[in-house]
Symmetry: C2
Subunit: 330 residues, 2 copies
């Protein structure tokens, strides 16, 4: 099987490729060829060098989609996007990459299929940003998508296209609505959601972190390991079981910031907790107040998608996957 990862240089893309390198049977079939795509040439793990090729491509360029479809991958993971803040600040760029980029690719696949039968599995990274407040206490699988950002709008439109192209038999799509990924590895960044990870990752490494909201804030989480698991499962599963509603809210953990901190205390002790500095930020508080807090992701669970059920688990996964199993300053 020929597997293509678009957005292979990003956080989840790299982890997904790492998973295939570490466990070649992860997808349930032999990966005979791997094409890694991103705006910069993505890194290739050494173990995959014999089967992998890395491509630097801007997907919003009109010929890029055709180049990718002409390679006829059997499975396409699409993880590439202009992120929320940037898509909001640059309206044209967001639509060009997050909407036109996807549509050009869908069209290139459809046209490749007119040349010679072709129907790849297409796994699309969507987001809970497709939802917009006001929300019910728990968002069910039948709740409408009324995004309040251009990013969320672009994801919701891509979901609709994915479902229609699937219905028409042009591809075999699965849309994966990711929770907020926690603990994000790396350095603290300026994303409004960054603190959810910062207040765990930094203290675990012996560093201070800033908490800009109060402990009663609730949000929806899954670990990077779960995110990779969602994509792997979507590549393996029998998609006939999904039916025509191809976009699935992934399972996750609904938890309070206070519960994050309690889990940190249990695992790393009060010294780690003491590294969290409260610094209320009205702007971040207001942004976060508009985010969904809880989902009843029943369909995805029934279809076999799995996430964490406690923050202890999320923290332990971070320690295993990012810190070589050890707590404290590197």
């Amino acid at each position: 099987m020929h597997v293509m990862v678009i957005g292979a240089a990003g956080m989840i893309g790299r982890k997904l490729v790492g998973k295939i390198a570490e466990d070649p049977a992860a997808l349930g079939y032999d990966v005979g060829r791997l094409t890694l795509v991103d705006v910069i040439a993505p890194p290739t793990p050494e173990a995959l060098a014999p089967i992998a090729s890395a491509l630097a491509l801007d997907l919003s360029h009109e010929d890029a989609a055709g180049q990718l479809a002409a390679r006829r991958p059997d499975v396409i993971f699409h993880l590439a996007a202009i992120v929320s803040g940037e898509a909001e600040a640059d309206f044209e760029l967001g639509y060009r990459v997050n909407l036109d980029g996807i549509r050009l690719l869908f069209e290139a696949i459809r046209k490749e299929g007119m040349r010679e039968p072709y129907r790849p599995r297409f796994i699309f990274a969507s987001s809970i940003a497709v939802f917009g407040e006001p929300f019910p206490e728990r968002i069910g699988d039948e709740f409408m998508t009324t995004p309040l950002t251009s990013y969320g709008t672009q994801k919701a439109i891509s979901e609709l296209l994915l479902a229609d192209y699937t219905r028409k038999g042009f591809l075999d799509g699965v849309g994966i609505r990711l929770p907020t990924i926690c603990i994000r590895p790396g350095k603290p960044n300026k994303a409004a959601s960054g603190f959810f990870s910062n207040i765990l990752r930094e203290p675990l490494a012996g560093q201070e972190a800033v908490l800009p909201v109060d402990e009663a804030v609730r949000h929806w989480f899954a670990s990077p390991r779960s995110a990779v698991g969602f994509f792997v499962h979507a590549a393996r599963m029998d998609t006939a079981r999904i039916g025509p509603r191809r976009n699935l809210t992934m399972p996750g953990l609904s938890a309070l910031v206070g519960e994050e901190i309690e889990a940190l205390g249990r695992i790393a002790g009060p010294k780690a907790v003491a590294l969290i500095r409260r610094e209320p930020d009205p702007l971040i508080r207001r942004i976060v107040a508009g985010w969904a807090t809880d989902f009843d992701a029943r369909r995805a669970r029934e279809l076999g998608f799995v996430a964490e059920t406690s923050f202890d688990e999320i923290i332990r996964i971070h320690i295993e996957d990012e810190c070589g199993g050890r707590i404290g300053p590197g």
Copy 2:
């Protein structure tokens, strides 16, 4: 005010223009200029000749949208679409007109506004085809849009764009999700939904009509007069009351085919009812089984949109508006 009607040659477009001709104060402001647009030059009522201009334009052509936005209408009614059956049969045509056509126009409006401040009221004809089965018994205002046709997908995407362009201040959009319009004037056509109108309109005119489904079929209706009323109300209303969820399921009447026939009997007598010939059609039965049957259109009702509450009313409106108040062969 400068009012533009795109799709002015269609059934609702013509009736909307007729309403403005008949009652120049209908929109709540003086219509000083009227631009009527369609793929063929739309007819202009004599009373409007001094202020109206008719344009024949193909909206999927790239320069058409710019031409329209350059005229800077204050209010745009957008009623133009490739219909459901055709959009399903011709995938490329449906996306070109129903999606690209709208998006090019939104973009032209945004760019016109960059040149000089501009934010027209934009009233978009959407459809209950944005919903796809399985349905709850009554579809609420928060039910998701998972269309099962390309036409429904194109309408759902246009709704998302309308909301995002409104949120960003590029236009002031209202999406009007129309029920099935009944009684459609004119000749019986081959649309799968045609029989809902045929079994009333034809017997009222002393003609036979075919009923391809059984009397227990339930569906969602509004008269052409109500449809015009929805658009007029959307042009007059204070849109600040709508909030960011700009696409509204219009009120309608949920009724059985059997209730249509009973109303016909009450108004036109048993001879009219006897003109309905039962001719079960398994294909039409199957198509209709996938359609929504009932909505709780609470938001639109609260915002002042009004429709019929009985089939007697729907039939009487047809007799008044289409038959000069008389029943029987012309």
